[in-house]
């Protein structure tokens, strides 16, 4: 029994080491190159969410084009600030001149300030640091505007109709992005939290199955829901499935945010009425460019750069600018 156990532990260890080595290969390959290439670091909230994966891929492409080395790291999940801090510290000691980070929370602020004091340029992507000026610059979607656009769209699309009943599906409580989009939608629609037209507000988890459950329960509460705000497109698909199971999918207006290719496909086939498209690839490539610029020329960016939001819909309404799904699919991420 002793030998079997030892052999098992040994083989598990060897296999693990091999797998880890194999996976680590891709990043270490790039370090081979020419004399002192510029190193830029990218730290995302997680590497398990398509949005951040696409961001990473965009950064990798831009870094390759500019002949820079990109180091990547991520937290375990969207609440792992400590993981982001560790990744950032490692990159700085490995010689990164600029760090691009999608901050989880105020938990990364101290580490961001420390990196800057060591002469590293730190740019926040997608969400601001807390406070905003802790980082050198912010390249992000204005999530408030993203929400506002779809709020305005929904208001205009339903103009003149009576009996409006709104449901809103956020993600886990405490998400800053969630709050911005939620409040943006309300502002765009011209109402506030607690408005009698809002019949259900629930946590759809930002994912499809949980949003389906949440919508089913909201429909039980009030089967007349005809306008739905969702925080992202997977959530919207879950809502649609719940409606379809009840045969109600045709009378309900669903709006969303993100503009991933799958999401735009949802607009094209009519499941989602309109979505605010954001540009993670642009955030990433602008970030890499700024990082390389800083390393080579010492040029520091600062302030907020809006990477843009475009409303995508095949059924435009007056008073709100939008582009159709052809544009959406051309510019989508994923």
């Amino acid at each position: 029994m002793g030998t079997l156990r030892r052999a098992s532990v040994l083989s598990v260890g060897i296999v693990t080491a091999l797998v880890a080595a194999g996976c680590g290969e891709t990043t270490s390959n790039q370090a081979a190159a020419s004399p002192k290439p510029v190193i830029v670091g990218l730290v995302t909230k997680t590497d398990a969410n398509p949005f951040f994966v696409k961001m990473r891929q965009g950064a990798e492409r831009e870094a390759a084009a500019k002949g820079a080395v990109l180091m990547t790291g991520a937290g375990k999940d969207t609440a792992d600030a400590a993981g982001e801090v560790t990744a950032m510290e490692n990159m700085v000691s490995a010689g990164a001149k600029a760090i691009l980070i999608t901050p989880d929370s105020a938990g990364v602020t101290a580490a961001v300030r420390k990196a800057r004091s060591q002469g590293v340029l730190v740019i926040a992507l997608d969400s601001p640091t807390d406070p905003v000026d802790a980082a050198d610059a912010l390249f992000a979607t204005d999530n408030m505007v993203a929400g506002k656009l779809i709020g305005q769209y929904a208001k205009a699309a339903e103009a003149g109709k009576t009996g409006i009943k709104i449901a809103m599906f956020d993600e886990a409580p405490g998400s800053t992005v969630g709050k911005l989009r939620h409040n943006g939608f309300l502002a765009g629609y011209g109402i506030q939290d607690g408005d009698p037209q809002i019949v259900c507000v629930a946590n759809g988890g930002g994912n499809q199955p949980d949003s389906q459950t949440a919508m089913e329960n909201c429909l039980t509460k009030d089967s007349g829901i005809n306008v739905v705000y969702t925080i992202n497109e997977p959530s919207a698909f879950g809502v649609y499935t719940a409606l379809k199971n009840r045969g109600k999918q045709n009378g309900v207006l669903i709006v969303s945010v993100d503009g991933g290719c799958t999401g735009v496909g949802g607009v094209k086939d009519g499941r989602i009425a309109a979505t605010s498209q954001q540009y993670p690839l642009k955030m990433a490539s602008l970030g890499v460019d700024a990082g390389v610029d800083f390393a080579k020329n010492g040029k520091r960016v600062s302030g907020y750069t809006d990477t843009g939001v475009t409303l995508i819909s095949d059924k435009p309404v007056s008073g709100v600018d939008s582009k159709d799904t052809t544009f959406g699919l051309d510019n989508c991420w994923g």
């Binding site: 098992s8 532990v9 590497d47 629930a202 499809q208 039980t220 997977p234």
Partner: protein
């Protein structure tokens, strides 16, 4: 003639007294279920309708199946943190094979369930052969399954599934309401597991292994085989849950299953099974699953903010564990 051995304070008929105590502790979750239902019924007239209850059964079917495997493992004083992640991996395997690689749907389903079973066997081997603690082992396989899910799916959801894959989301009408085959499957699997646990030798060995593994081993119970089986069966059930999830949502979604891990453990604990092993019932788990589902449903109907669901779930779990502890102290 020998002197009579002194009885403990169980009165004239200890067998009946013990049976009574067992029934009371098993009834705990059921009482909680009834109280919760009563509360929501009073507060909204939309709760106690056949449609709403049909909905609740559909919503809890997936976690209900995961919780069966979790019950088996917790009965052996172990725990499985990987159930949700393994299930998510199963959904990706079966949907990708069926849609992207155009494999025969039934073969795709079999391979998807097989992949989950493989994870279960891996858990079992690491726990029994390498003797690592279940918490650590399943924490490891959780991460592995999670990573594999995202790597193989390339972060894309897979839609347009062929009919066999979504069968368990299909419904039929019964007694004036619609029921999904998935919900029926969850109940059927629970009943079968209950029968095996209470009436067969293998089932009693699960309890013995959890209650006193040394005693079981010395008595000739093959505890290593028992442990390997429960982890493997849990893996199989993860695969079945994956199929039911796919039927419910109609897609293979790499983001699925993240809350399912803790939900399955909550269902087991609230259902009265002891984390120390050797005590509990899979029927109690079914009640626990319903309780969790009822709260999620009822609180949404009442318009309570989502954050309170976390609060209430936490309170429920602590109450359930406290009741278990107190009833242990009143036993001999």
């Amino acid at each position: 003639m020998l002197a009579r051995l002194r009885q403990t304070g169980l009165g004239r008929d200890p067998g009946a007294a013990v049976a009574r105590a067992r029934v009371i502790s098993a009834l705990g979750p059921l009482v909680a279920l009834l109280l919760a239902s009563l509360f929501f019924t009073i507060r909204t007239d939309r709760f106690l309708t056949t449609e709403n209850w049909s909905l609740i059964t559909q919503q809890v079917a997936v976690v209900g199946i995961l919780a069966i495997g979790q019950t088996l493992i917790i009965l052996t004083a172990g725990i499985d943190l990987s159930v949700g992640a393994v299930m998510a991996y199963g959904t990706i395997v079966m949907t990708r094979l069926a849609v992207t690689y155009h494999l025969n749907p039934f073969l795709a389903i079999a391979l998807g369930i097989g992949a989950c079973l493989a994870f279960g066997v891996l858990n079992g081997v690491l726990v029994t052969a390498v003797r690592l603690p279940p918490f650590i082992v399943t924490l490891g396989t959780l991460n592995i399954a999670f990573a594999l899910t995202h790597i193989t799916s390339n972060e894309e959801t897979i839609a347009n599934l062929p009919d066999p894959l979504v069968f368990f989301g299909d419904t039929f009408r019964f007694a004036g309401t619609t029921i999904t085959y998935g919900a029926v499957l969850a109940v059927a699997l629970t009943v079968v597991t209950w029968f095996v646990l209470t009436r067969t030798i293998g089932g009693r060995h699960v309890y013995a292994t959890g209650n006193n593994p040394d005693a079981a081993r010395l008595a000739g119970v093959r505890t290593r085989r028992v442990l390997l089986s429960v982890y493997a069966i849990a893996g199989l059930l993860d695969g079945i849950a994956a199929l039911v999830l796919v039927g419910r949502t109609g897609v293979g979604d790499p983001q699925a299953g993240q809350s399912a891990n803790l939900d399955s453990i909550t269902a087991v604990v609230v259902g009265g099974t002891s984390l120390f092993g050797g005590r509990g019932s899979v029927l109690g788990t079914l009640v626990g699953t319903l309780i969790v589902g009822i709260f999620r449903n009822g609180l949404t109907l009442l318009g309570v903010a989502a954050i309170y669901q976390f609060l209430i779930t936490g309170v429920l779990v602590i109450l359930a564990v406290a009741v278990d502890q107190l009833s242990r102290r009143t036993r001999g």
